[in-house]
Amino acid sequence: MDDYLSEKEQIQAIRNWWKENGAFVIAGLVLGISGLTGWNFWQNYKLERAEAAGAVYSELVAAADRLDLDLASASLETLQSDYSSTPYLAQGRLMLAKLHVSRGDFPAAADQFETIVSQTDDPELEQIARIRLARTLLAADESTRALEVLDLSRAGAFGPRFHEVRGDILLSRGETVAAREEYTRALEGPQDGVIDRQAVQLKLDSLGAAAGESQVEPTGDA
């Protein structure tokens, strides 16, 4: 292009450019704006869905507080059918499972936890569900499955708690030595609040001194 065009020629050049490319520019703008609108719409839609799911979850919590199993189960079904992509489904299951536990229906509680373990995309919530699953399976006299659920390679930061519950399970099967080992390992973990150390120590102490160990180990000052 020439650097020394007259004003008229410049205007003509711009006109020509626009004639050639105007359609594309407008198409680009339309595309951009509609993309943006669509994006915003999608975001708002997601927020609205989440808020609606949260409302159903609140109803479930209230029903569970009143021990109203029918209503709580109905709310969970709504979450499951309409809001399965929100975190409120898994939270709802936790709450419903607690209601089952308080009614002594451990298999039903275990079902909920099992579903969370297989479906949630929140990895830490999955670990919590695993621990609760194992405890309810133990209460339902399914100690073999309970032990399988607490696969130590999946324990992560929950290691000491996995060991503690494994200890509980093993003890219920009469495997005192193995249980003592699990409690000991639970206490060897970091002191970061994942277990109630005093409670685990009590469980360990209650098993009595291991054979061959000295039973007198004074700690602290008299």
């Binding site: 951009g32 939270q91 607690k98 708690r161 469980k203 001194a209 004074p218």
Partner: protein, 632 residues
Amino acid sequence: MLQKIREKITGWVAGVILALLAFVFAVWGIDIGFSNQSVAAVVNGDKLPIAPVRQAIQNQMSQLQQAYGAEVPEVLEVQVRDSVIEGFIRNRLLVQRIREEGYRVSDEAVSAGIREMPVFQVNGQFSIDAYRAMLANVGYSPTSFEAEQRQNLQIAQLQDGILDSAFVTPAELERRVRIADEKRATAWLTVPVSAYLDSIDIADDAVAEEYEANADRYMSPESVDISYLEVNLAEIASGVSMTEQDLRDFYDSEVVRDPEMFSTPEQRRTRHILVAVDDNRDEEAALARAQSLLDRVRGGEDFSQVASEASDDTGSASLGGDLDWLEPGMMDGPFEEVLFTMDEGEISEPVRTPFGYHIILLEGIRPGDVREFDEARADLESEYRSRMSEDAFYERAERMSELTFENPDTLRPAAEELGLQIGVIEKMTRGGGSGLAANSEVLSAAFSEDVLKNGENSQPLEIGEGRAVVLRVDQHHEPQPRPLAEVSEEIRDRLQREAARSQVLATGEEALALVKAGGDLESVADQVSAEFSPPLLAGRDDATVPVRIREAVFAASLDADSEAGGLALADGSYAVWVLTDIVPGSLESLSADNQAELRARLAGASGGAELTGYINQLRNDATVVVNTEQFE
């Protein structure tokens, strides 16, 4: 280059580029790459701005400072800093998690949460004015505050979901009670160290031997003799003299300088009726209502009657609108302006303040008053005295500082010029003593390099309010062996105790062997002249059993090998215990209330531990870089 680009920007390329640009700017705004402020840490790619972190650290530090009353130790400072930063990191991790997972709290819930916060309430009602003012005060915009509240509520939703759904199974509860409330039957004997002490004679030779062998145990502590000068505000104050004329001149200048000190302000007895302007009532409606109330009281209805029935200021409404005596400066601007131009008995037109419309009744006036010289005399004297003595104090402290700095080897010139006595403290140890020697500033100055090693005068030290001290060390006493005569009692005691301990141990082990061989505890106790404690049933926290014995008994089990044991107590006595029975705790022995309470407590602990694990796991998996330089 540009030329080329211009040529290429044709056709669909131009369209696509423009579309992309429009999209990017519209979605992310124009602050891309613009946030270059300091960061405290980067958490999974998110930058944490430093200002709030610093603020939080500062808040905690000032609380600590109040608790300590002085300098906070550096170790503690580092701990506080690290834990605050860690808290921010964990909070950010939770924020990221709620976004990924899609937790969402509605606008209504956010605003309901804010409305319930007591700080934003006036007379028990949410006040939008108070809300705005409070936020402006701490530098928040309502938008950012609401966003933060929403975040907090969403995090709470995640956390409460875990906590509130926690449970304890019946078997877990039962086992817990069985173990924790377990009682054990035990008896024990004690071979007391005291019974052996008196019978042990320590020969002088042994004392001398110990003195030689462990000389370092028997040294006098390092100490210094110091001399010091003190300028004391209280002393100066008691020496201030003043004439009648001084006081009168002082009065004349002070009345001009600080009239409030010599006058009592005018007071006005006030009642009011408030018609609030808030979400339920707009400006116009409020004014109309105020006007109609005004008509009623002007029309002869009793003001206090109307106030107690209609005023929105619930506090004063119950008192018939009474606000007691008001002085200038106690009320809002417009309210006050009107009140202090009213006549006694007058009722005002509606007055607009941030709270709404007020109708004011002025019931009475107490005129202000100016105190004459004679009335104010006592105050004047003390004010004059403190003013004069403070000036003199700073002047003299300053001069002392100069003179002791110019003559670092002696306090004498300063003492002479200022007419001060040189005080002396002898044999002051690093541990301190009483009076000045108890002061940590004094101690650290006396044992500092400049003063102790180089023999210089110290810096001026501020010893509390109104006391300045300069000190120097006259003599430094290194640790010295204490003379044998002085420490021989101490040595004898120590040796006696050591000997007694080994005798006690021998006797105790003999007793343990007898018990283990099947001997009855009480007769064994008789046999070795030990004290016998008869059998009792004790829980884990039962203080009637000495703690070490209790621990041993609860760690034992009911088999031949471990139902008896022996141990040394802290004072050197020896105990032999036997375990005779174990009684498990039972759930049935707890009341229904206690059972429910325990169930809730165990479920809570279990949920709390799970939540901790949740956050710890997030933390372990996160990529976190703390910008430590920012906190040096």
